[in-house]
Structure formats: C-alpha cells, structure tokens
Symmetry: C2
Subunit: 441 residues, 2 copies
Amino acid sequence: MRLSRYFLPTLKETPAEAEIVSHRLMLRAGMIRQGAAGIYSWLPLGYAVLQNIEQIVREEQDRAGANELLMPTIQSSELWRQSGRYEDYGKEMLRIKDRHGREMLYGPTNEELITEIFRAGAKSYRDVPSMLYHIQWKFRDEVRPRFGVMRGREFLMKDAYSFDLDQESAHRAYRKQFVTYLRTFARMGLKAVPMEAETGPIGGNLSHEFVILADTGETEIFTHKDLLDYDVLGQNIDLDDDDQIKPIVDYWTTQYARTDDMHDQAEFERQVPEDKRVQRRGIEVGHIFYFGTKYSEPLEANVSTKDGQSVPVHMGSYGVGVSRLVGGLIEAFHDDAGIVWPESVAPFKVGLINLRANDESCRTACDELHAKLEQAGITVLYDDTDESPGAKFAQMDLIGLPWQLIVGPKGLKAGTVELKHRASGERHELSPDAALQKLAG
Amino acid sequence: MRLSRYFLPTLKETPAEAEIVSHRLMLRAGMIRQGAAGIYSWLPLGYAVLQNIEQIVREEQDRAGANELLMPTIQSSELWRQSGRYEDYGKEMLRIKDRHGREMLYGPTNEELITEIFRAGAKSYRDVPSMLYHIQWKFRDEVRPRFGVMRGREFLMKDAYSFDLDQESAHRAYRKQFVTYLRTFARMGLKAVPMEAETGPIGGNLSHEFVILADTGETEIFTHKDLLDYDVLGQNIDLDDDDQIKPIVDYWTTQYARTDDMHDQAEFERQVPEDKRVQRRGIEVGHIFYFGTKYSEPLEANVSTKDGQSVPVHMGSYGVGVSRLVGGLIEAFHDDAGIVWPESVAPFKVGLINLRANDESCRTACDELHAKLEQAGITVLYDDTDESPGAKFAQMDLIGLPWQLIVGPKGLKAGTVELKHRASGERHELSPDAALQKLAG
C-alpha cells in the first residue's frame, strides 16, 4: 500500500482531551476519530488492527469448536422482560422506540437472544454440547465515556455462549474457553492472567476475568511469577480432551492471582514465595461466566434427555473486549516515540521508507521492493511521499510497524538498504535481497 | 465441519409468514432467525454466506484502491442538521435519545459522517483523489418490513465514498466503481445490469442502479442481450487507467437498459433489434451516485488547490446491499429442492454424506475424506449423523452446497463413492481419490 493513496491523518500535536497513552497515540496515529462521546470511527490504520485482533479471536473460537453466527445490534425488549433484566440494566442500556412505538434496545450483551435462538433450534440431548459465538458491536450508555476505545459506548465484543445438559458438561465448556482465552491473548503477544471474579449483572457462581499486563494499566494485580512464564502456545493441546484441559485450568486457578480489590497481602505472602511475588498493573480484556440455568429457566430453553425428561440447559458466556484490546495492546506496547505493535496484530508488517522520493534510483529500488514484498504476501506501507526523512521516521515510529525498511541514495550506491526493528531499535545494513529474505523468514 | 457439531436448525415445514422464495428457503435452511420485525440473527450457515459475499465486495473495493475503515452505527444528529437531511429523512430514520437527552440516530447512510472525517484529515490537492469505504450495519425503520433480508430494517451495506478536486476527476472515480461493480457481481455468478436511475434522497445528477437477473425478482427489466453476454472477468483491466475504463462504461451506458418504471417500448424497439430484446425480472442490489459538492459545501470539506485556492471536494457514493444479496442470490439460484449456491459464495463447497453412520467402514472412509478435504483447504460439511439417507439427501439439497460426496457401504465394497453436482444433478461414481482430485481441481 502506497502512503500517497492511504488515508492516514496523523497528528503532530498531542490531543488535549486524551487522558491515557493509548487514547493519545490512537488519535495521533490517525487510527480513530471521535463521532460523539464514546463513539468512534475506525480509520484505515485502526481498523486494520481491529480486524487482525478479531481474526485471532475468531480462529481460536473456531478451534474450540464454537460456531460463528451474528445477532443483530437492535433487540426487542420482550426477552429482556422475560429474563427480568429489562429494568435491572438501568440507564446503561440504550432504549429506543421504533416508529410504531415498540420498545427496542441496542444490545449491551446477548444472553437472552442467544437463549431464544438455541431454544428454537435445539430439541434433545443430541443437540448439546453446543457453543455459539458472535463478534458484534454493543452499546453501553456510560455516564462518562472516556479513555478512548477503552471505555467507549459503542464497542466491539466477542461473546460466546455454551449450552450443556448438566453442570459437569458445562464446566468442561468453561474450561475449554478458559484455555482458549489463554491461547487467544498469547497469540497477540500479551501476558494474560485469569483472576477469580465477581459475576455482576450476568449472574452465576463461577467467573474469571482475564487481565493483561500493561505498566499503564488501570488495575493493580498480584500474582505468582510462574504464571507469567507459562507458555500455552508451546503445547499441542487437544481442546476436546478434558484430561488435557483440566490440569491446565487447575494449575492456573490454584495459584494466587488477584486484583487490588480482592487482594489479601497476608494470603499472598503465605501462598507465594518472596522471589515469586509479582505486583504489576493490568487491564481487563476478557470475562467468562458459568451461570447454569439462570436464562434457560425463565426463557424455557429445555432439551429432552435420553430417558425422555425435559431439562433446562446449563449455560455459560464468554466475552472478549475486541475494540478494548486495541487500546490495551497500545498500553502494553509503546515507547516515547509511539506504538510498538506485536507482529500478529500489526496493521502492516513493514514500513518501506523512500528517503528521497524525487531520486529516480531510490524510486525504482523502492517500487521494486514494494512489489516484491506484496508478492511475497508481506503487508507493507510504502512511504512514497516527498516529506522530509525526519518527518517520515517520526511518523513510522509513531504508527509502530514492526519493521522499517529504509532506502536512501547513499546506501543504494553501496548496494545496501537499512532494516530497523521497531521494538529493539536494532538496525542492519544489508542488500535488498537479504532484507527481503529476513522479512519473509 | 461435522454436522453433529454444527448449529443448523433446518425446518421441514414451509414457514407461513414468508411471502417470497428466498425468505422461505433462508428460514427452512436454518440461515436466519427473526428477532423482531425486519431484524434477523444470522445463524452459522447464513452468516458464512454473508461473510463470503462481504469478502468479495471487500476484495474488489481494495482492488479499486478504496481504503477500508469503519464508521459507527450510532451517530450524533448534528452533522445531519448541517446537511439539512435530519428533517428530510422522516420516520425511516431511527432516532434515539441517549441518557443525557442528546439526539442521536442509527445511521441509514453515511455521507455526512464520512465528509466530516475527510474534512478533518485532508488538507490539499495532494490528499485527493481518495476513496474510502466501510461495510457496516445500517437501520431504516421501514413501515412494513417484509421479504426477509430483502427488505429488512437492520441490514448490512457496503458504502464507498469518493473525494476529488473537480468534476472530471470525480467522474473517473464513478467509472472506476462502475466497473468494480460489474466485477463484484460477476464474481458471485450473477448477471448484473446497470440502469440509469433517479438519485432520490442521496441527491446529485448522475446515478446508476445495478440490477441482477432473477426470475422471481421484484422488478421487470428491458435490455439488450449483448449486455448479458458481456464478460468483465475475462478482461485484465487496470482500474487506474481511465482509457481502459471509459470505453467499458460508455458501452454499457449507451445500450438500452431500463426498469419498468423508466421503460419506453417504442424507444426499446427503436434501439434494440428484435432478436436482441430481452425482457427479464431482476432485483436491485447496488446503487452509485455522483453528487458533486452537495455535502462538501454545507460541511465545509475543502482542500487547497495548487494555486492556493480553497475548493469544496466533489463527491460520489457507492452502495452495495450486502445482506440483501444473500436473498438476491437465492432468488437467482434455487430449484424445487432448495438453494443452489454458486461456488464463490457457498457456505461450504462440499457436503459429505455418510449413508450409514453406524457402519464402521463407512465411518472410516468418511472420516478420512473429511480430513483430506480439510487439509486441502476445501470447505466441507460432513453429515455424520444417524438420520435416514432420504432425510440427509433432502437436507443437503435444501442447503444447496455445490457438491455432494455420498459414501455408502455398497459403493465402498466396489471401491467407489458418488459425487453429485447440485446445480446440474449430474452424478459420477468414482474412487475416493478421484473424487478428491475433482473437488480440488
């Protein structure tokens, strides 16, 4: 992609209204633009990151055997009255009257609707276990939206729902999602720690929130160092085999891991040896719940058992804050010069910088590198503009692509280009072909 | 994907409320479920088709050099007051008050918001031409929503917007999208014909709607047979080269092509030789507009010219009804037994049918074929249930996958499986390996 054809309205000044670093950097890097309080447009660079995160979440849900569907944003109030949550939700729910005066709402979550869908489509024990998910925009009418996409009103969430015949099977589904979440965040380069949590308005009696480490995070967490060193991606786990899953979940849930509001210093010191005690900051990006028959009973989502009885299904729900993660990732990965994307979510893998756009040899070399990178399936943003080298470097550092490939007249004469690694700052002079090989590897 | 793990609530009965064939088949095939009038959940099979259509639209927009972004569903009323459309839109616009009493709305289209985004990000002639698009849910509060996803209230649309320095350049953008639309619909196996159209509430003075052929379509169309035989995908067109684009657009726009409300029989007979006259039914699935400075003037989206003047940009907008296309495709491709998906949009390419799930040799052979198909990257829905062969055949025909691979004990003994082509009904007995090769080809 040529920068001259890419809508990237970066800002030189730091926007005054932004209180936290991810909000500032997203505005400065031209990733988002506010439409109304807590409601954002995702500009091309920001949307590319959002789509990459979404795709990782999708692949891991598919791997867990969940089926993707899509529920609408606007729901009727009827099911919410049946579950008893219509009044409970209060002013955070965006309530709407349509032209016929019918009470509608913009879904803040989807337990009711998915329960109705499952009830209509499933009849017997043969139809469970089942897991359904969608990645859809939600709306919560926060009193004071702030922190950019970290606490917006319109936000993108993955919510999955499990349906099982009994509590034991439902707990297996819970464990499957638990490990799926560990994998999902690890693929984004994040250290995520599940913490025992309150269930809040979703209900139920078993719940964990997943907190990622970020020095500028909102929450203080206390945990065991071994959890942070745990490598879930290095293991070849069969998610259908509970004998493989259960020990992993048991390991994580028996270690000390608490946020500041649940923290007990004496308990922490009792459970964790001094050299293993970790106190860090973090951001909540996922929340999973088992709530049994809380929705299936009032909404009559029953299936027949093998011996002909009709029983309400046991359910769980599993949320990931997809748009929130964009902010969370920046909180975890940035420096004074800007964002430092992990490769798995980066909007482009490489920024190709032409230091002298009006020099024919530079242009020819860059055009060729650009074509070869795209042919190799390597995503590249090619700065072909006539800005000054200093401005180009600053902008590339700001938007945080993992690699910068820098082409100037002096290097070309010597047959070299410069490859800079954004995270480490390491630079290498090498031939264009060697650079391509390194980027393809 | 194993059917035993796939949420596919097909119906045996024909739902009484559905008036048209696509609505009936989408309900019967377990593709959608109504949440409220004109608002649907997309169940896994339906959502897979929607995603495939979305991806074709995306790839063709990218090919045209448009940048993808995402605007939110909820907008503030302010920009709509500035453009003068807030009152114009009437009751079709879903109006919302948030908790602070601010007037918001669920976007029925995005000219205002994109103009504001462009205004904020673009400064000079260097920032044009520019084309931006998103694929996002919209809401139009129809008085009487009907025909399933063909005239729903919450619907998915691709809307692109072009920004140019002057009318001539804006017309080039219009032509680029014109040819892009021909390509987009052709990739879905559809015959689409652009027709000169009224501009309606979008405004402007140049507009075409794209109508696809379907015998059960809502509109009667009259056109020249040669247009239907035109092969746009067979040409290697450089969309950046107007010298290639303009003759194509000129060719299409000089032939007779009108819907019944614009039709003039005498003119039709004058322009089109008798053996070339075609009268068919169709469905509108796209609409493109050039409207100059209608939005850029009131919203002050100006750029500076080379000689330092400030001028409002010339704009166009380009819509594709993405969710509507799912219904449109079914109207175009179905028979008495069910849907007949073109391969490019099919939810799975192959339906693998195990005729006797409790027979070990059948199960082993099917498991192996299933694994090999997935390894080869061929999407497959594997009916591993213990339903009767008749029920399995009927369901596979209903959901319309392009190929059925049928495995039974008798054939296996002779070393063969059966491959059925859904569209033609042709059947072939061949070895499992030969079947795999044919499907991979």
